[in-house]
């Protein structure tokens, strides 16, 4: 087991290095975006002097490298900077923009919690369901059930997310008013309400992520069915279900875990469209809004968060894949 500890530490170190690279990429890319915040916010009244003043106040007139390091050291101390949008520009004539107004962290935290809540609800539902359907599809492969499962999940993953969302709204909110079509959750809402309002987006996302996980489960299991140890299990007179559950599935875990991790990462980082449709106040919406108004500190923080989610989830998947392999758990 000491080996695994070492692997985790190594991977964490590599993860940090990746984060550093990502931070450079993000910073570079965001600052390459055309247009700038000062011009965007001043709109019609953007006189060169006013633009200049705002740029100076925000430090946008400093060289890129210097700004990167200022930002990086801030981030390392847990300070993601201040959101441009929250600053007070009523007197944009050039007075100091007051600090401590709206820090990025304050703005991000509730949104991040909401996103994690939605991702969590979806995952708790989607992961077991997909794996179960995958196991059943492998068990009854090439049967009607298998085909229906495959076609349904493929259809749902191939359709645009907003389309799925509207169909669900039509069925579950308009024709049969069971669930609310809007998911405007806020702080201090009780858990049951929150859950009810998150239900439709969670269902939509489930439809989006099920196909991958289900098909990988099915394929990984079927891949093993020609193995001698599966034949052995059959020749012991075990039922097909037991053969698949006890003999195939434990050996198919590694690829399944990896696909689950990728889909969980998608749930955290890629759900903008669904959030917009259901007006769900998640991090994706904040991200898109911030890009629109060139609110660079928020955009950077979001990107960094997304990168961290990917890295951590993949690390977890690697570790779990190692734990699922007895050769690595119990070396000779």
């Amino acid at each position: 087991m000491a080996g695994i500890g070492l692997i985790i530490i190594k991977r964490l170190g590599l993860g940090l290095l990746t984060m550093l690279m990502v931070s450079i990429l993000i910073f570079g890319a965001v600052n390459l975006l055309p247009g700038d915040f000062a011009q965007a916010i001043l709109g019609q009244g953007a006189t060169p002097e006013a633009v200049q003043a705002i740029r100076r106040d925000l430090g946008l007139d400093q060289p890129l490298v210097e700004r990167y390091f200022t930002w990086l050291f801030g981030v390392l101390q847990g300070d993601f900077g201040n959101s441009f949008a929250e600053l007070n520009f009523s007197s944009y004539g050039g007075t100091t923009a007051s600090a401590n107004f709206g820090s990025v962290a304050d703005k991000l935290a509730p949104r991040f919690n909401n996103t994690m809540f939605l991702a969590g609800v979806t995952a708790l539902f989607a992961v077991p369901v997909s794996i179960l359907i995958g196991v059943l599809a492998a068990l009854y492969r090439n049967s009607i059930f298998d085909r229906v499962a495959n076609i349904t999940t493929l259809t749902s993953i191939s359709s645009p997310e907003f389309f799925l969302a509207y169909i669900l709204i039509l069925i579950l909110a308009v024709l049969n008013p069971i669930l609310p079509s809007l998911s405007n959750i806020y702080d201090g809402m009780d858990f049951a309400d929150r859950l009810e309002r998150s239900m439709l987006p969670a269902l939509t996302l489930t439809l989006v992520v099920t196909a991958h996980m289900m098909r990988m489960t099915r394929a990984a299991i079927i891949n093993l069915l020609a193995s001698p140890f599966i034949e052995m299990a059959r020749l012991k007179g075990l039922s097909p279900f037991r053969v698949i559950l006890f003999h195939a599935l434990p050996n198919a875990l590694a690829p399944i875990i990896n696909v689950v991790a990728l889909n969980l990462a998608f749930l955290i980082t890629g759900v903008v469209v669904v959030e917009v449709v259901f007006v769900y106040p998640g991090i994706g919406q904040l991200f898109v809004d911030s890009v629109k108004i060139r609110d660079i500190p928020v955009v950077q923080a979001c990107c960094l968060l997304f990168a961290a989610a990917y890295i951590l989830l993949n690390l977890t998947a690697d570790i779990m894949a190692i734990l699922s392999n007895p050769r690595l758990r119990h070396p000779k």
Binding site: P228, M232, R234, L235, K236, L238, H330
Partner: protein, 553 residues
């Protein structure tokens, strides 16, 4: 044992395989009777249908195979028409199976004893606790080391021979009436094979279990079976009691199987003193990363001679070959070619040095690029080493194909997948010859082939050696191959040369104790061989036990 009704009764069984919509007959109307407590040996080359027949006795067919006609009854139960529930009720409980590779047939994700107690639990024969106690008792009877503890390991933590015995114990877990042994010792070293054979025979007679023993090794089946049935391409050739079959086989085919073992080449005299060897290893020491594999290995190979390097898996035979080819640069020591030291790594060797040393591999299947035509496979070294192109190259490839006794016009444009195993191995030989080397390493070149085909390859290699004065390093664990082709023998154990010398000396006592162990472990075509050996050595002194005892001395 003259019961009215046999335990297994197979009549006129026909099984076909379906690949790409075409039907291939696998078993053509075979009959078989097996009484309680009796052991029948099924023997034949690959493709004879022995495994299919063995599995059919369990009412089981592999994917793609179908029972076309005939009947299979087990204890009066019709297995052909039985539904899956009825068959499942019998499998594991009354009919058990021991597979060829225990390492592949144990589930890598569960502990051995968990897998042992699974069938008794599912079939409600006994609860897990009791079955685990029984497992330990069986491990004891099968003389597994640490019987109390070994079951709680995962399969990858246990050696091949021990796993094979654990699998035999697993087959016994419900005390079945019938066990199918499907080549249970084929993947094992000779010394390990003995202890598995002895263990299987013991336990089968202790519980009076009937068994079908499938193998391609005549000497093995002679030790195990009461009766032998010979199969050839899905047809029964003949069946007789073991003694009769060994002494006086009736059919030509059976006789040809028996005769394979008699091929023997005349041994050439040792090279003269002072003659420079083609290849000379001088205290070569090598390691994979930090694991030492070779220690101070030295031997010479002379022009026109065959040096057989023998030893069990892990003894360093193939590593020595890797050092000679430069694939694994040795840590110390050197390899001389005609007296000139070769650079340690193949990367530093020039084309001429590379040309002199060629290899033929064990698995012709994986050693030939499946997407290249025969003309390209053989043509590439011709072009690379000899610089021939165009018509000259084609002419040379034709010559080479003639040398390996394949019709050039017919095979020139084929792909490896269109060839049989023996033909593929011949292409491997032609590829090695294409470089016109002085020295060829043959790494277990016949061990994946049937005996008749293997004999053809050995004869071809012998003929080529005589024509071209080639030197061979022949890596093998099969001592009958050594007897057939070698001039000199090098015995290796744990990365060291234990003994070496001319073949006739090596096959005569006195031996180094390890050579003796290897030699005496090769099953002989005598049905009493195993009994006599066990009497001589005692059950405690075979296989792993004997090897480790020797290491202690």
């Amino acid at each position: 044992m003259t019961e009215k009704e046999p335990l297994v009764r197979i009549r006129n069984l026909n099984i076909i395989g379906i690949t790409d919509e075409t039907e291939v007959p696998i078993i053509n109307g075979v009959d078989l009777d097996l009484h309680r407590g009796e052991v029948i040996g099924l023997i034949g080359e690959s493709g004879a249908g022995k495994s299919t027949l063995g599995l059919a006795a369990m009412g089981f067919t592999r994917d793609g195979c179908h029972i076309r006609g005939g009947e299979v009854t087990f204890d009066g139960i019709d297995l052909v028409d039985a539904g899956p529930e009825i068959r499942r009720e019998l499998l594991g409980k009354r009919i058990a199976y021991v597979a060829q590779s225990a390492a592949a047939s144990f589930n890598p994700a569960h502990r051995i004893i968990r897998q042992h107690s699974e069938a008794p639990m599912v079939h409600s024969v006994m609860p897990r606790q009791q079955s685990e106690e029984d497992a330990i008792d069986l491990y004891n009877r099968l003389r597994l080391p640490n019987p109390e503890e070994i079951g709680f390991r995962y399969p990858h933590q246990v050696s091949g021979g021990q796993l094979q015995r654990a699998m035999t114990a697993m087959a016994m877990s419900c005390r079945p009436d019938l066990i199918i042994f499907d080549e249970p010792t084929t993947a094992l070293d000779v010394t390990t094979q003995i202890e598995v054979l002895a263990a299987i025979r013991d336990i089968v007679s202790q519980f009076n279990t009937a068994a079908i023993y499938i193998t391609h090794d005549l000497a093995v089946v002679a030790q195990m079976a009461d009766r032998i049935k010979v199969l050839f391409r899905g047809d029964e050739v003949e069946e007789a009691a073991t003694g009769t079959m060994m002494k006086s086989p009736k059919e030509e085919y059976t006789k040809s199987l028996w005769a394979v073992r008699s091929f023997q080449r005349k041994q050439k005299p040792l090279a003269k003193k002072g003659e420079v060897p083609v290849i000379s290893l001088q205290s070569v020491t090598a390691a994979y990363a930090t694991t030492p594999v070779l220690r101070e290995v030295s031997f010479d190979i002379h022009r026109g001679r065959t040096v057989a390097v023998v030893g069990e898996s892990g003894s360093g035979k193939s590593t020595a070959a890797r050092c000679i080819t430069g694939l694994l640069p040795p840590l110390s020591g050197q390899v001389l070619n005609n007296g000139n030291p070769l650079p340690a790594s193949f990367r530093q060797r020039n084309r001429e040095q590379l040309r002199q040393i060629q290899m033929i591999y064990q698995m012709a299947d994986t050693a030939l690029n499946p997407r290249m035509k025969i003309s390209e496979i053989i043509g590439r070294p011709v072009e690379f080493y000899l610089g021939l192109t165009g018509n000259e190259k084609k002419k040379r490839v034709f010559q080479l194909l003639e040398q390996i006794e394949l019709d050039p016009a017919q095979y020139y444009n084929r792909l490896p997948t269109e060839l049989s195993g023996g033909q593929k191995q011949r292409i491997g030989i032609a590829r090695a010859l294409a470089a016109e080397p002085e020295f060829i390493i043959c790494d277990e070149v016949t061990s994946a082939l049937d005996q008749l085909v293997a004999e053809g390859i050995l004869k071809l290699l012998a003929k080529l050696q005589d024509q071209m004065d080639l030197a061979y390093m022949f890596i093998t664990h099969d001592l009958s191959t050594v007897r057939a082709i070698a001039d000199e023998v090098v015995v290796m154990k744990d990365g060291e040369v234990v003994e070496s010398g001319a073949k006739n000396k090596m096959f005569k006592p006195p031996h180094h104790p390890y050579t003796d162990l290897l030699l005496s472990s090769v099953p002989e075509m005598d049905e009493n061989w195993l009994d006599e050996l066990l009497d001589q050595r005692g059950v405690e002194n075979i296989g792993d036990a004997a090897v480790s005892k020797m290491a202690g001395n």
